[in-house]
C-alpha cells in the first residue's frame, strides 16, 4: 500500500480540507487502533516530510492526468477541487441557477440605502434616491432581500423595511457590520444637490479620442474592450 494512495483516498472522502497534521493523525490512529488493520500498521511512524512528499507527488500526478479536478493546497489544507472551467455546470448543480438575474442598478441603490439606514420607510428611501421606488421595492421584496420589519411611529404609520439574512447571503456578508464603510455611511446624510449639475449630455468636454478609450457604450460591457484590458490586467 502506498502512502500517497492512502492520503488520496482520505482527501477524496473528507468533507473538508485536511492539513498535514490531520492527515498524520488519521494515519497514526489507523495504525495504532486496537483492531488496527495489518495494512495500516506499517504507517505508524509516518513523518510529516513523508506526507508532504506524497502529497506533492499526488499534485503532480493529478496535474498530469489533467482531469476535471485537481489536488490543491489552500492555506495549509489539502483538498480536491474542480477546475474553474466547470463552474457553469457546478453552479447549475448547486442551484445557483435559481439565483435570479443580477439586480438592476436601481435595485442595488435602493438596497444599499435600506441596508445602511434600516429600519427605513419607503418615503425616506425615495427622498435619498430622488425617485419613486415602487418598482424596485417590489423586486427586492419579492426576492426576499428586504422585508417589512415594523411600522414607524409617525403620521400614517408607514411600514419600515430592513434587510433579511438572505441579503447577507446574497452579498457574501457575515453581518451588517460587514457592510463597507458602515459607520460613515450611516451617519452622513446625503445632501441633495441644489440643481443637477450637468444633466445635459451634450456638455461633454473630453476630446473624442480620449472618449473612445475610456467610455464604453453599453454594448461593449459584455466583453471587456481589448485595449483597456491589456493595459490594466497586470
Amino acid at each position: 500500500m502506498e502512502l500517497k494512495f492512502i492520503l488520496e483516498s482520505l482527501l477524496f472522502s473528507a468533507q473538508k480540507p485536511m492539513s498535514v497534521k490531520e492527515l498524520r493523525e488519521v494515519v497514526f490512529n489507523a495504525a495504532t487502533a486496537e483492531d488496527a488493520d495489518e495494512a495500516a500498521q506499517p504507517f505508524k511512524k509516518t513523518r510529516d516530510e513523508d506526507l508532504t512528499a506524497a502529497l506533492e507527488e499526488l499534485v503532480r500526478e493529478h496535474e498530469t492526468a489533467a482531469r476535471s479536478y485537481r489536488l490543491a493546497c489552500v492555506a495549509g489544507a489539502w483538498q480536491f477541487v474542480t477546475q474553474p472551467e466547470f463552474s457553469p455546470w457546478l453552479k447549475t448543480l448547486v442551484g445557483v441557477k435559481t439565483r435570479p438575474t443580477r439586480l438592476s442598478q436601481a435595485a442595488l441603490e435602493t438596497l444599499a440605502i435600506i441596508a445602511y439606514r434600516q429600519p427605513v420607510t419607503r418615503a425616506e428611501v425615495e427622498q435619498v434616491r430622488g425617485v419613486n421606488i415602487d418598482g424596485t421595492m417590489q423586486t427586492i421584496l419579492e426576492r426576499g432581500l428586504v422585508e417589512q420589519s415594523g411600522r414607524a411611529e409617525v403620521v400614517g404609520r408607514p411600514a419600515l423595511y430592513s434587510t433579511t439574512p438572505l441579503f447577507l447571503e446574497y452579498f457574501g456578508l457575515r453581518g451588517l457590520e460587514d457592510l463597507p464603510a458602515a459607520d460613515e455611511l450611516r451617519r452622513i446624510p446625503v445632501e441633495k444637490p441644489l440643481a443637477p449639475i450637468t444633466v445635459d449630455a451634450g456638455l461633454a468636454t473630453a476630446p473624442p479620442d480620449q472618449l473612445q478609450l475610456v467610455e464604453m457604450p453599453p454594448a461593449a460591457i459584455e466583453e471587456p474592450p481589448a485595449p483597456t484590458v491589456a493595459e490594466t490586467q497586470e
Binding site: E61, Q105, G172, L179, P193, A219, P224
Partner: protein, 278 residues
C-alpha cells in the same frame, strides 16, 4: 418458531443438509448415490435428536421422501409403486435432484451476495463539502460595476485613513459637501477622460472627505452622468463619463477588434491513458 433457531445454526434446511452430505462425499449432485444419501440423512436427523435439537417438520418430510426413494430402489422396476402425482412417470429421484441443483444455485448466489455485502462495508462514497458560489466575484468578467463593488472599493480607500486617523481624533469641520465633490469628480473626469477609482481619493484629507467624494460619485451615477467599469473582476474600477446617447453611434467600431487573449495552452492535458498506473 423457536425450533428453527437452533437448526438454522447448523443447516438452513433439509436441502442444505443434503448438499452438505453430497459435498462430503465429494461427488457431483448428478452422481450422488441417493440410497446412501438417504441413510446418511436419517443418521444426521437422529444425531440432531440425540443432541436434543428440535428437528423441524421439513427434515422429517425430507426423511420420508428419501426413505421412499430408497425403498423404491430396492424393488425391481416392475414392482415399483406408481405414485399418483407422478406425471409421465416422473421419477422422485429426479425431482429431488432437480430441487437440489436449483437450491444449490441460489445458495451460491447467496454466497455471492454475502461477498458483496462485506465488500460494501469497505466502500466509502465521496462526500464532498458543499461548494459555494455565494460571492459574486466568481462569475467571470461582467465589467459592469454594482453599488457594492463601489462600496468595497471605497472601503479599501477608507482603510488607508484608518491608521492615520487612529491617533488624532480631531473634529473636522464639514469642509466638503457632496455637491462640491460632484463638481470635482466631473471636472477631473472631463480633463482626464477617465480616472481610476482610487485616483479620485488620492488628495482626500480624511475619511469624511472620502465619504463625501464617494457619495458624490453615487449621486452622479444615479444621474447617469458617470459610468463605472471594471475591466476584470477585482481589477481597479474605471470611472468615466456615461456615454451620451447620441455618441453611442460613433464609439462601437473601436471595440470591435477585441483581442483574444487566450493564453497559449502549452501544458496540453495528457491523454487519460497516460495517467500513472500503479
Amino acid at each position: 418458531m423457536p425450533e428453527y433457531k437452533v437448526q438454522f445454526e447448523v443447516f438452513e434446511g433439509p436441502l442444505d443438509l443434503l448438499l452438505y452430505l453430497i459435498k462430503k462425499e465429494e461427488v457431483d449432485i448428478y452422481e450422488v448415490n441417493l440410497t446412501k444419501l438417504a441413510t446418511q440423512f436419517i443418521e444426521h436427523v437422529d444425531l440432531m435428536r440425540a443432541f436434543d435439537l428440535e428437528v423441524a417438520g421439513e427434515f422429517l418430510v425430507m426423511a420420508s421422501t428419501l426413505m421412499f426413494i430408497k425403498s423404491r430402489e430396492l424393488l425391481p422396476v416392475e414392482q415399483q409403486v406408481v405414485v399418483e402425482n407422478e406425471e409421465d412417470g416422473e421419477d422422485p429421484r429426479w425431482e429431488l435432484i432437480r430441487q437440489l441443483v436449483e437450491y444449490k444455485k441460489f445458495k451460491d448466489a447467496a454466497a455471492q451476495l454475502q461477498t458483496l455485502e462485506e465488500r460494501q462495508e469497505h466502500i466509502f462514497p465521496r462526500l464532498p463539502g458543499k461548494i459555494e458560489f455565494v460571492s459574486e466575484p466568481v462569475t467571470p468578467a461582467k465589467p459592469e460595476v454594482g453599488i457594492f463593488d463601489l462600496l468595497n472599493a471605497v472601503n479599501a480607500v477608507l482603510k488607508r485613513f484608518q491608521l492615520k486617523d487612529a491617533g488624532t481624533r480631531e473634529i473636522f469641520e464639514d469642509k466638503w459637501t457632496v455637491s462640491e465633490k460632484m463638481e470635482f469628480v466631473l471636472t477631473t473626469i472631463s480633463v482626464q477622460g477617465g480616472v481610476k477609482f482610487s485616483e479620485l481619493f488620492e488628495l482626500a484629507a480624511n475619511r469624511a472627505e472620502v465619504v463625501c467624494t464617494f457619495l458624490a460619485l453615487l449621486e452622479l451615477i444615479r444621474l447617469k452622468q458617470l459610468a463605472c467599469i471594471q475591466p476584470e473582476p477585482f481589477d481597479e474600477i474605471i470611472v468615466s463619463r456615461a456615454v451620451p446617447m447620441a455618441a453611442v453611434v460613433e464609439a462601437p467600431a473601436e471595440n470591435a477588434e477585441a483581442s483574444q487573449p487566450s493564453p497559449a495552452t502549452d501544458e496540453t492535458p495528457a491523454t487519460d491513458d497516460e495517467t500513472p498506473q500503479s
